[in-house]
Amino acid sequence: MPLQVVTGNHAAGYALSVAGEANRTARGVACGIYPITPQTEIVEYVARFPFSKGRVVPVESEHSAMAVSMGASMSGARSFTASSSNGLAYMAENIMVAGYYRLPIVMVAVNRTLGPPWNIWADQGDTLMLRDFAWLQFYCETNQEVLDTTLLAFKLAEDPRILLPALTCMDAFIVSHTQTETELPEQADVDRYLPNLDLPHRLHYDEARTLGGLAWPHEGLSMRLELEEAMKRVPEVYQECRESFNDVFGRDPGDMIQTFATDDAELILITSGTIATTVREVVRQRRNAGEKVGLVKLKMFRPFPGAALRDACKSAARVAVLDRNYAAGAGGIFCQDTRSAFQGHRNDVLIQNYLTGLCGGDVTPEVIDDILSDLRSRSAAGDPMWMGIDSGEETLQ
């Protein structure tokens, strides 16, 4: 497989394009696209890809980009798009609709701070705002993970047991604009991995069915339950998609949650995205110094892998959740779901929330040191800790 030095955006654009091209002997591929910093290079890549049976529609807004992709998907084609930050907020209505329509659209999101204040740097608040919209959500750490997860997302989303859209997320600039060595798979292998899409509820021009009309409460309830059952099947189907990925590409795309040195860890740091890279390095150093510290990287956030998370943390008495996101009035979002996952299963774990890297701030090894010191010194969990707040003196200088 060709190894190339590319950005995260390039890797994502490549993955979306070859996945679309892989459906050329079926109903083809179409998508709506709209630019926004820092994902623009993804849609630019897609726009110049020479699809054998496809069309890229440059529309007037993110809202319409998802609408075009939905129209294509409802017609049985493979579809995708990409967006970021306020673009996702503008698109939100149609993102939700794609989920409830059970359309296996894959979207790559570059996590960027929601404005105001205007800011183009990494923060997960944009995609986590969409967490209740019936999309699968994956947070990636490297360019390779972005590429692999995007391809895997198509296979998972299109599986007849799932039929839900999927979001692949990466941190703004740290991944999206950083060039690293990345294996770009051959089209022939992608063709082997992604079979032709056969969407069971697609429109047929000779069948009079109405998609999305009125449903009475009991019908609506049944549809929501079916959706929840599909969500519950994700962990099992994910492992199948992961194994077949390994068979085709000779590479492990990574588990839903990824652990490092957790087996006997007393303190565990839970985080996602590129913060995991820094935490892993700190954990390595602390382990060398004999400290029983571990890392859990949450790659999948929806559905939330609660059972796997509890299992990974079974030796820990104290857990820190590092959130590069913030729900006003409630704290970090990964932490809220972590607490829910432990509630009623283990009540002896101290779970403390640290808000770090918000609005694109750097999360350095020193920040991780501070978090570990705080976690170790605690007798009880408290309010979320805001890391990296400048003192007034520093601000004045």
């Binding site: 807004s61 149609n94 999305g212 009309g213």
Partner: protein, 301 residues
């Protein structure tokens, strides 16, 4: 079996019996006309309908009042969803028109940017706006299609602003075909549907759609009212080809618009400025006639 019964019993009928549309609704007649035109042209269609009365028409899952595949879209999205559907149809060489069926709220207001973009891209779709000049589905609020003087729940004293000229907006996109339709002139209506069905690219049709519930008019007056609107110049029926050439389909005959206002309780006889409406009709007709004379449509009727 009468022709009407044949449409209502055929599996290819567009609007099935048992739907919940109000009596006197212009949309019901419009959909029936559209179904006939499709059958005459031996065509099928996919309907793409945003939030509006037209999607309530479909009824409750798992049944549907539409005899063709139908998609419910978000309020502002029907032309964009239709772009995706038409794209995959064309990539797969499949038959059938992709037709957006939207109210004036979805067309003049919330969906205008989406519609403009689809027109600018010359998407291969038909967009039909059934314009009842009100947010009917939500109980009768003003839209930018509501005419001056009309009382709505959000303009209780009568709307101050006039009706937006959506046809000029669409014509300015230089789309292949734009036309206004009246259910009081069914032959002209059918001809325009036939023209739209045999044209490629973006086609826009504006249907003046009486709404007895919102207009506070009698259901049996619906066709008489829109006939008055055509004759007086309140809602002239005409065609625009490629945004360049014009034809007036039914010449306004100088009918006074006063009766149109008088027969709807959304207009207050004491408050409505009929003179201003007369002047607006006269200006509208003069402008259209000038366009039709200077830039006559060459296509044969």
């Amino acid at each position: 079996m009468t022709a009407t019964a044949a449409i209502h019993t055929s599996e290819t009928c567009l609007l099935r019996p048992g739907n919940t549309n109000c009596g006197g609704c212009g949309m019901s007649v419009g959909l029936t006309m559209l179904g006939r035109a499709l059958r005459a042209a031996d065509e099928t269609c996919t309907l793409v309908i945003p939030a509006c009365c037209g999607i309530v028409t479909a009824g409750a899952f798992p049944t549907t009042s539409y005899g063709v595949p139908t998609i419910a879209t978000t309020f502002a999205s029907s032309p964009a969803v239709a772009s995706g559907v038409a794209t995959i149809r064309d990539l797969n060489d499949e038959p059938g028109q992709v037709i957006c069926w939207a109210g004036d709220g979805g067309t003049y207001d919330i969906g205008l940017a989406t519609l403009s973009a689809a027109a600018e891209r010359d998407e291969n779709i038909i967009y039909i706006c059934y314009d009842n000049e009100i947010y009917g589905n939500t109980g009768g609020q003003r839209s930018s299609a509501t005419p001056a003087g009309a009382r709505t729940t959000t303009t209780p004293l009568g709307k101050i602003e006039g009706k937006k000229d959506i046809m000029s907006i669409m014509a300015a996109h230089r789309i292949p075909y734009a036309a206004t339709l009246s259910i009081a002139h069914p032959d002209d209506f059918a001809h325009k549907l036939s023209t739209a069905l045999s044209t490629k690219g973006m086609r826009f049709l504006l249907l003046h759609s009486p709404c007895p519930t919102g207009w506070k008019s009698e259901p049996e007056d619906s066709i008489a009212l829109v006939r008055l609107a055509v004759a007086s110049g309140l809602f002239p029926v005409y065609e625009v080809f490629n945004g360049a050439t014009y034809r007036i389909s039914v010449k306004p005959d100088g009918t006074d618009p006063a009766e149109y206002f008088h027969r709807q309780r959304r207009f207050d006889d004491d408050e409505i400025d009929v003179d201003a409406a007369r002047r607006a009709c006269s200006d509208r007709i003069q402008r259209l006639q000038a366009l039709a004379e200077q830039f006559p449509a060459l296509q044969s009727h």
